[in-house]
């Protein structure tokens, strides 16, 4: 076909025109259509599709990151809820422990108080008993001392006032009384 395609000299080129409906317009339409197809293929292959692909991949990448972040957020929320639940459990357990300790302390305190009261009462009783014994002992000692003192006084008085005869008579009376007293016991 190349031998049948020929470029005419510039001087034979026809005049320009604005609009016509003829074979030249038809050939122009066909050439422009072919140009359009070539340009569409070139732009699509070189620019449009690669840029679209790049943006699609980036969107996927970002979406994947967003999904990951969302999953991590959900996991974090789950952990937080679990932690809060545990915290609530711990709080409850702490309150229970405190209550138990308080109850135990109150119980122990009442036992200690009871023991102390009992001990105090025993000490008081012992003290009273010992006091009574002491009192009794002192009374007896005082009694004996008074007897001894009275005897001494009586002896002194008698020594001054009584003669031998009166002394013997009193001695006998006293012996007689002692004898009677022994019989009583």
């Amino acid at each position: 076909m190349p031998s049948r395609i020929m470029l005419l000299a510039a001087q034979t080129v026809p005049e320009g025109r604005v609009f016509a409906l003829d074979f030249q317009t038809l050939s122009g339409i066909v050439i422009q259509l072919i140009n359009g197809i070539i340009l569409a293929a070139a732009l699509s292959y070189i620019l449009y599709k690669p840029v679209q692909e790049f943006m699609r991949r980036r969107t996927e990448r970002i979406q994947s990151k967003l999904d990951d972040a969302e999953a991590m957020m959900a996991k974090a929320n789950e952990l937080k809820a679990e932690y809060e639940q545990k915290m609530q459990g711990i709080e409850k357990e702490r309150a229970e422990l405190l209550e138990a300790a308080r109850l135990q302390a109150a119980e122990e305190s009442s036992v200690i108080l009871e023991n102390a009261r009992e001990e105090a009462s025993q000490i008081k009783e012992q003290a009273l008993e010992s006091l009574a014994e002491e009192k009794k002992r002192l009374k007896e000692e005082t009694h004996l001392y008074i007897i001894e003192l009275a005897t001494l006084l009586a002896e002194k008085y008698i020594m001054e006032k009584l003669d031998d005869e009166a002394q013997n008579r009193l001695l006998e009376e006293a012996i007689a009384q002692l004898e009677e007293a022994e019989w009583k016991h």
Partner: protein, 225 residues
């Protein structure tokens, strides 16, 4: 800049003349620039980071915005044809932007706009038959077979109206700017044309690009749903 689409070369193919017009050459220039830019972006894609900055941001914004737009207009099941409309979008917008630099917009030639509208029409038919099978063809004879010529005409008029809308708008901008350059003295041809270019090429161009792509997407979606 002239009103006519100039012819640069004439090819003799199988005994017929094929004119290589200004439109075709400008299309090749724009294609070359876009492919080079795409290759630069592709090379830089290797060093693209998760958090985009600068050039990466611009590339991602273009692709992502169009992607969302195509998904919204075409729906999930037709997104595989979005690369074609991505090209249409970028190409028509580039045509308008390149005309700021004095390059006649290829979209100011009906051959270009009809080529893209024809592609939309072919896609519309193909997708309609592929996704709806018999029910799509049946829609041509609804509500009664007598309406077939009207329905057919309605379908055929879609690429025609689509192509003429863009062609007319782009050509009107070209005509206005050509007239301005031709009819005004030299001292007002500095500064003021920048505003006209900004309006007709950038603003109008972006608007017409959007309209052309949206209507194309709606036609294809309409054929499938």
């Amino acid at each position: 800049m002239g009103l006519e689409v100039k012819n640069y070369w004439v090819l003799q193919v199988a005994g017929r003349e094929i004119w290589i017009t200004e439109t075709i050459v400008n299309t090749w220039i724009i294609m070359l620039v876009l492919i080079v830019l795409a290759m630069i972006a592709r090379i830089k894609l290797r060093s693209f980071k998760d958090i985009p900055t600068g050039f990466q941001n611009a590339i991602e914004a273009i692709v992502e915005t169009f992607d969302a737009f195509a998904l919204d207009s075409l729906g999930e099941k037709l997104t595989y044809i979005s690369p074609w409309f991505f090209m249409v979008f970028i190409f028509i917008l580039s045509c308008s932007l390149f005309s700021v630099f004095g390059l006649r917009a290829p979209t100011a030639d009906w051959a270009t706009t009809f080529a893209f509208a024809l592609a939309t029409f072919i896609l519309m038919l193909f997708m309609g038959i592929r996704h709806r099978e018999g029910s799509y063809l049946k829609s041509f004879i609804e509500p009664h077979p007598i309406f077939f010529p009207l329905n057919l005409l309605g379908e055929l008029s879609k690429p025609v109206s689509l192509s003429f809308r863009l062609f007319g708008n782009m050509l009107s901008g070209t005509i206005i700017l050509t007239l301005y350059y031709a009819l005004t003295p030299l001292f007002v041809q500095i500064g003021v044309p920048a505003l006209l270019h900004a309006f007709f090429d950038v603003l109008f161009g972006a608007l017409q690009t959007y309209i052309f792509v949206v209507i194309s997407l709606m036609y294809v979606r309409g054929a499938v749903d």
